[in-house]
Amino acid sequence: MALSCVVIGASHAAAELVSTLRREGWDGEITVFGEEFYLPYHRPPLSKTFLLQNQTPEDILIRNSDLYDRLSVNFRLGRQVSKIDRAKKQIILGDGVKVGYDKLAICTGSRVRKLDVNGGEVRGIHYLRTVDDVKSIQASIKTRGKAIIIGGGYIGLEMAASLKKIGMEVTLLELSSRLLERVAASELAEFFARVHGEEGIEIKCNKSVSSFESTDGRVKAVACSDGSVYDADFVVVGVGILPNIELAEDAGLRIHNGIVVDQYSRTSDPDIVAAGDCTNHPNELLDCRLRLESVPNAVEQAKSAAASICGKKRAYASIPWFWSDQYDLKLQMVGINRGYDEIVLRGDYKSNRSFVLFYLRQGQLIAADCVNRPKEFMVVKQILSKRLRVDISLLSDESISPREFIVG
């Protein structure tokens, strides 16, 4: 009898995983259970084109539905998996239905962290992770209204840029003393604060939101613990995400800041793999473990998970990278700047919109943030992936091509 593979989560990782499974020769059944009602779609446009240009979920699919038909991949959408029974090798759906598996892939991604303050249960307070979130945002947006964004991470900043484009008056409240506290160096944060200021966004740091005020069940203001109050027609909260690890945890799989997997995306159960935002994985190139929240991570890790299901070994060892588009800016970050002891600047981040921050640790290039500098991004990605030698003294020299950073 043909083997069956069950995938939990109709996610970015799942889309990549199921097509790679067929390519690797898996000829058994493939069934994907997804809580959302859509085939896997791209999330990056949600805060941008999907919101602004009235795109439909079909416009942003990761693979079209014809392909899944041709590959005989069965999607069961709007179905939540509530338990994994490893002893019986079956999953249990929310309605109690049991489905057996030979191989299981956990691609449950992550969910938004909710803000736990008084008055948060009224209309007009939004989060952003799914197509349905955007649909409710669109229904609630008023051009020329006052928007309050809570959280100065990438999602908050991208939303600020988009709401401004729609014509709203936008104020962004951040808990810490600067933007991007969790994910970027202070130089980059300073740059984004300047640009958003220039674009007309009001940014307020050191603001701890303490409650929402409402009339007739609809938000009308956001109050902070320092006593300040901001009028609001509309609120978007972007205060981080939480990996969806509970299913795996309840099933007794190893968890440590994510579902623990090896470089082949295998969990502590030989018949279960995991990929995407929900995993904690080793990175050979960087010699550390990581939990990443990015598209390239979901894509590349899913390929290695699919190979493992087919009994093949394809290590996931890519240099992490990420991008964010805001206004006329394309930020491309590559490497992990953890533990850097020196920054080399190429260009000018204080008055321009095009520069690179190179991060060094003990004289070694470990990461770069490139703003409107695609060439430098491409070169640094190659340097880090192939462990090429670099002449550090040339990094800041604008008169030479980035190509020449590489020694030999």
Partner: protein, 106 residues
């Protein structure tokens, strides 16, 4: 639906129908054509969807953005007819388009 021909490094040819409004990159992924990675999923951010456009078609395409041009310059083996396939939107006018895939995506 316009037809697009992808020619792989090994010389094999794949002629497939791709919906208008979709991209040349998406057409390859939706037909399991190997040789396009598309790490970013089509947002002009990764340059792992590099292709070579057969000359007669080149002028039918809209101009590449600065970001695309700059990334192309640093792909594996760039040529004057290099493009990022995610930035080529499929239109009826492109029916019959021929693209070749590179030896390696950077």
């Amino acid at each position: 639906m316009p037809t697009i021909k992808y020619i792989l490094r090994d010389g094999s040819e794949h002629e497939v129908n791709v919906e208008t409004g979709s991209s040349v990159m998406q057409g390859a992924l939706d037909h399991m054509i190997e040789g396009i990675e598309a790490e970013c999923g089509g947002f002009c951010s990764c340059a792992t969807c590099h292709c070579y456009v057969d000359e007669p078609w080149l002028e039918k395409l809209s101009e590449p953005s600065d970001a695309e041009k700059e990334m192309l310059e640093f792909t594996f083996d760039p040529m004057p007819n290099s493009r990022l396939s995610c930035q080529i939107t499929v239109t009826d006018e492109l029916d019959g388009l021929i693209v070749r895939l590179p030896e390696e995506q950077s």
